[in-house]
Amino acid sequence: MLRIYRFLASRKTALVLLVLVTVLSVAGALLPQEHLVGKRAYEEWKAANPALAALSGFLGLNRYASSWLFLAPLFLLLASTMACSLERIVGHFRDRPSRWVDGADLRNLEGRACYTLLHGAGPAGQAVEVVERVLRRARYAVDVQPLGDRRYLVSGEKGRWGFWGSIIFHLSFMLIFVGALLSAAGSLRGTMHIVEGQAFVEDHGYYDRVMEGPLFWESHRRFAVVLKDYWPVEKGEYVVDYRATLEVFDDFHSVKEDTVGIGERFVYEGVHFSHKSHGYAVKVKLMKQGSGEVLLDGYLSLAVLFEEDEVSYTDYYEVEEAGLRLDMHLYPDFASGEGGFTTASPFANNPYLNLAVTGIEGGESRLFQGLVKLGQTVRFGEYVLSFTDVRYWASFYVIYDRGIPVIFFGFWVGFFGLLWRVLVHRENLWILVEGGDNRVRVEAAGRSEAPKPLFQEVFDRVVLDIKKEVAMK
């Protein structure tokens, strides 16, 4: 066990794993990913590159982010990062660098050290004051240790806590990992749509599509969301946005209302509703002639299809009770020309429904085919159908991700750790001042976590300032 720990706690191991994860990521990024490119495109690529596809499939690189070939080194890298961090923390407390050094050893400091020797005129006490002033001006925390017999060691320190930036950055990966686990196992992702004026209840059966993690355990919130209003926002000749006003009812009480544009989010109780798209829903009433029995009376949401520059609203609905299938195509702003029927604008200024009614089992035999204007009623066979209203529907991604707060917290912790690491370096300067009444000898040494050439410049500047002020040579 200790051997495994030692292996993982080696920085060389961590580096090798980092390289391995990078190489596997490159492979994963270059090879088509089945879930991203789609089944058809993947099959085409597979047919064109059979050998590579076979190898990729065998190694799991066609879905590399969930393959063990990728996950195993990733987990090992995480474990190694944690072990390395632990070792560094233990090492830091064990060999904690002191802000004091032996005044006699300044010339032989270990690590990225700088050293210089100066001589000047004047009393030692005055030189100490000058050194203190110069160091304070350079924003060092200064302390003076009298060593006796007109010998003083002045210590300047900055960035004392710099070490912890790197540790915090590396430990943040554990937070992100825990968040990712929570996200994968205990979350819900779904899509739903609401017709203007109607409600959606946050429960399994109301979603168009829903995916729940194995630890989600159907913990739905069961509040209702009503789409109160939906409208386009125009700017010049463009529609630049569609906005939705949503109201939440929890326990039959209105608890929140907000308006969101496309791409914006509405959040209640940790459940995020991300406004995605919209379409039209038509209200259709189907009755039996004579008996007046209502077979259908409600809003039917039409799918939105994009073909080149044209958007069409079309769908079908089966009325099982009557054995009828309604194929509908809506022209929100109907116009007819040489090319056939079209819509003059995407707005419901002059809605027409192109309707075809067939029997569910009836094959091609059509009971009705034709245009139905908003407010119009048509009769076919024993049925009466009215087209009574058009409204928008809006669709939303619904995300209830328990891992997100942890992941995003981990991101911020990591970012600030990294920023801290880059901005704060521990720097120590030690100036030994010794001399008589009119002659002074100054030894200056320093050490930093920053690259030595850059620290050398800082060190030289400080030494130059001391030189100038003590009038040394």
Binding site: L15, L18, A29, S183, V240, G263
Partner: protein, 271 residues
């Protein structure tokens, strides 16, 4: 593009082009005066650039980042900005100005040729995190590009150790090495912010903070490459030519990631 924006665009492009020529002239004729002129020209170009992008943002109603033109333009602006900051602190690095100004001019021209017209912001881009993401991605690029320029100078200087001009005008090899590292460190922080803000944006736009699409994966790959660079420097103590080479290779990967990814089969992403 309005007339005012077009004028500012051409002023910017001309200033960057002239700055590149001036720095190059200074390099060939070994004159520091030409370098100073190059700095002034780059600063004039930057001022016109800021004015042009501000004007465009006021017209479009959003920060730059919606189209390829805006992305490239922002990239050029931040590259020149970072270079001017770095050279103010280290005038000896002005010799890298020809490469930096040339890259900026090229980016600007590339964006202009792609389509400079203003179009409405697509819905998925309507997130403040998107603009944070764009800003930090190009800030990281600017640091990496300036760092790679320093690494390029390192390779050049170390190949001709007896060249008098390089000895007198270019910082010492140790300083170039340390500066490359320092700039990569800052780029790495901005890159991290880019990845983080990108995942916030992806979460608001697509409901997923990370989906391993090629853009995301390549962005992670480049971050990891720079992570390897930093660990090699800090942990194994690597210095010198191999680090300079790695730095330049990492920048090439970044360039391919953003400008070349769309040309690879089966790739694609946010745009």
């Amino acid at each position: 593009m309005t007339e005012a924006e077009l004028i500012l665009f051409w002023v910017t492009l001309s200033a960057y082009g002239l700055a590149a020529a001036s720095f190059l002239f200074g390099l060939i004729r070994k004159g520091q005066g030409a370098d100073r002129v190059g700095v002034y020209l780059a600063a004039v170009g930057l001022a016109a650039h800021v004015a042009g992008l501000t004007h465009r943002s006021l017209l479009s109603g959003h920060l730059p980042g919606a189209e390829l033109y805006e992305l490239n333009s922002l990239g050029a602006l931040l590259t020149v900005f970072v270079f001017l900051l770095v050279q103010a602190r280290r005038p000896a690095l002005r010799v890298a100005g020809s490469a930096v100004s040339f890259i900026a001019a090229l980016l600007l021209l590339f964006g202009y040729l792609s389509n400079p017209e203003i179009s409405p912001l697509p819905p998925e881009f309507r997130s403040e995190w998107f603009f944070v993401h764009i800003f930090f991605s190009f800030l990281a690029f600017a640091c990496y590009a300036t760092s790679a320029s320093a690494s390029g100078l390192y390779l050049w200087k170390s190949s001709y150790p007896d060249n008098g001009f390089l000895k007198s005008r270019v910082p010492s090899l140790e300083i170039l090495d340390a500066l490359s590292f320092r700039l990569v460190s800052f780029g790495f922080v901005f890159h991290a912010m880019m990845v983080i803000s990108g995942s916030f944006w992806a979460y608001t736009a697509w409901g997923s903070y990370w989906s391993w699409d090629p853009i995301e994966t390549w962005s992670l790959v480049t971050w990891l490459i720079y992570g390897i660079y930093l660990h090699l420097y800090l942990t194994l103590g690597w210095r010198g030519r191999r680090m300079a080479l790695l730095n330049i290779i990492a920048l090439v990967v970044i360039v391919l990631n953003f400008w070349g990814l769309g040309h690879l089969p089966g790739q694609g992403g946010h745009y």
